[in-house]
Amino acid sequence: MRDKKISFNNLEKFLYQPSVFMILTGAALAVLLIVPWLGLNSYLMNIVVKVAIYITLALGLNILVGYTGLVSLGQAGFVAVGAYATTILTKVYGWNFFTSLIVCVVLAAAVGIVIGLPSLRLTGTYLSIITLGFGEIIRTVIIVWEPLTNGPMGIRGIPRPALGGITFTMANSGMYYLSLLLMLLVMLFCRTLVRSKTGRALRAVKGDETAAVMMGINVTYYKVLAFVLAAVISALAGSLYSTQLGYIDQNTFTFDMSTIILSIVILGGMGTLRGMVIGSIILILLPELSRSLTDYRFVIYGLILILMMRFRPQGILGWKSRLPYPIRKTVIERISGPQNQTADDGETNHA
């Protein structure tokens, strides 16, 4: 019997049975909710929040790299847009953090469209270089636009998010729950997106642009859409990140940050959602936990990128991307009749 064999695919099928999946998700959620009571010190909690924010960032970039096949090396630029928009609105103009997010989303979407447009003419490496340039342009703008951004001095004392008299701080774990909430919402969004018609169109664009056009897919629209979504998600995570740091300047959003996000996506597995989680945990947590590694971490990131591309381009958790989308039952029944459905589609019963 082939279902006795232990393989990633069978493990996968087991884990993704609705009942097992629900239990695992529930358990994971429960653990995530009680993390603040595990007695981690504030240093560790800061890292945990950072991991959550990077998972969010990776999920955003994954829409571009993993599903649409556009490699962006300038994600830090989008993060900076979100971070500065929120910071300036809350600190200088006294807006509420959550109201400022609306502006942040609109602004990021606009920037996403502008950066998305070159993607219509450029492909592959050329596009990546444009996005790399974009990241650097944003940094230069931050330095030069002193009246607004305070230039190279950066902005200090960024207020923590507050809502209805409650301030979300590290001490009361508000920051943790906020970043957790954002991460979960983005994850849910990505999951829905990937399984939708839009998600299929994005994957078609990644697979073969000409063929996608021949399906009647407006490739232009979907490429720009992917940039907009990635920009908005990155900006939202950036807003939260700035309040966690409490201080931002142009050096917060360097090319290194874009590299880390891209490394997470590639290490975890392009085009998977859980890959982003494992990638962030490995690339953010491990260097922080072993301080001696920190000095060498970009050497390690580079090495990881090269090794992954050579030996496992689909990423650590990449095998999932091979599973088909669920097809509606009615369709399957129309095609094969209800009885022999399980027999011929190879989905063995684990019950």
């Binding site: 091979r322 129309r334 190879g346």
Partner: protein, 235 residues
């Protein structure tokens, strides 16, 4: 169904189509034959909007579609099954077909299209959970044609469907073309395999160096001495 008037297409300075005019009527199978470089693929790519024409007119169902965005032309019911198949290798057969129905919004229609497609290509039904890249050449070609039929096009352009396939598979493909025609789809067929193409077609055009060298009933073209010598290899 499709009327092309004096179409000129350039690749940079190269004049690839030099004033092509042709007509495809409702319900016909029309084939375009010609040597390598005669402009067959350029013509279908121009019709479907992948390449822009410099002058001339393409009219589909009484609407001018010259140089329209390719995806809009697909929505109007003109589908190209491109040369070299171009299936999405990482996606499953079923997902490929689903993408084929991308422009359809009616769920009932999509379900019908699945059923029809699997009836036409039983092999695809067997392999529907398999990645398209793992299919054989013939199966990929069937997938490409099936995918193009998913949105119920009025006119199907088939660019070299027999390219690189084993002789017995080629026979199957041509039988399918007749079958598809019976279902009411008009077909413009581009083929190097002139012999087979002429057998399944109603009318034919012979392309020579970017111009129409000859046109007429497929039978007459097949009987023509020059065509027999040059394209059919007969004396």
């Amino acid at each position: 169904m499709l009327v092309i008037e004096n179409l000129h297409t350039y690749y940079g300075a190269i004049h690839a189509l030099k004033g092509i005019s042709l007509t495809v009527n409702d319900g016909e199978v029309v084939c375009l034959i010609g040597a390598n470089g005669a402009g067959k693929s350029t013509l279908v790519n121009t019709i479907s909007g992948l390449i822009h024409a410099r002058s001339g007119k393409v009219v589909f169902q009484d609407k001018e579609i010259t140089n329209l965005d390719a995806y809009k032309i697909v929505k109007m019911g003109l589908r190209l099954s491109p040369e070299g198949r171009e299936v999405f290798p990482d996606l499953t057969v079923e997902d490929n077909l689903r993408l084929g129905a991308y422009v359809s919004t009616d769920k009932k229609q999509i379900e019908d299209a699945y059923a029809r497609c699997y009836q036409l290509f039983p092999k695809l039904k067997e392999r529907r959970r398999q990645q398209a890249g793992t299919l054989s050449g013939g199966e990929q070609q069937m997938l490409a044609i099936g995918r193009a039929l998913m949105s119920e096009p009025k006119l199907l352009l088939l660019d070299e469907p027999s390219l690189g396939l084993a002789p017995n598979i080629v026979n199957q493909i041509f039988e399918l073309i007749i079958e598809i025609q019976k279902q009411g789809v008009t077909i413009l067929l581009i083929e190097q395999n002139a012999n087979m193409a002429l057998q399944v077609s109603n009318r034919a055009y012979v392309l020579e160096n970017g111009t129409v060298g000859m046109e007429g009933k497929a039978k007459d073209i097949a009987a023509d001495n020059r065509v027999r010598q040059i394209y059919l290899g007969l004396k």
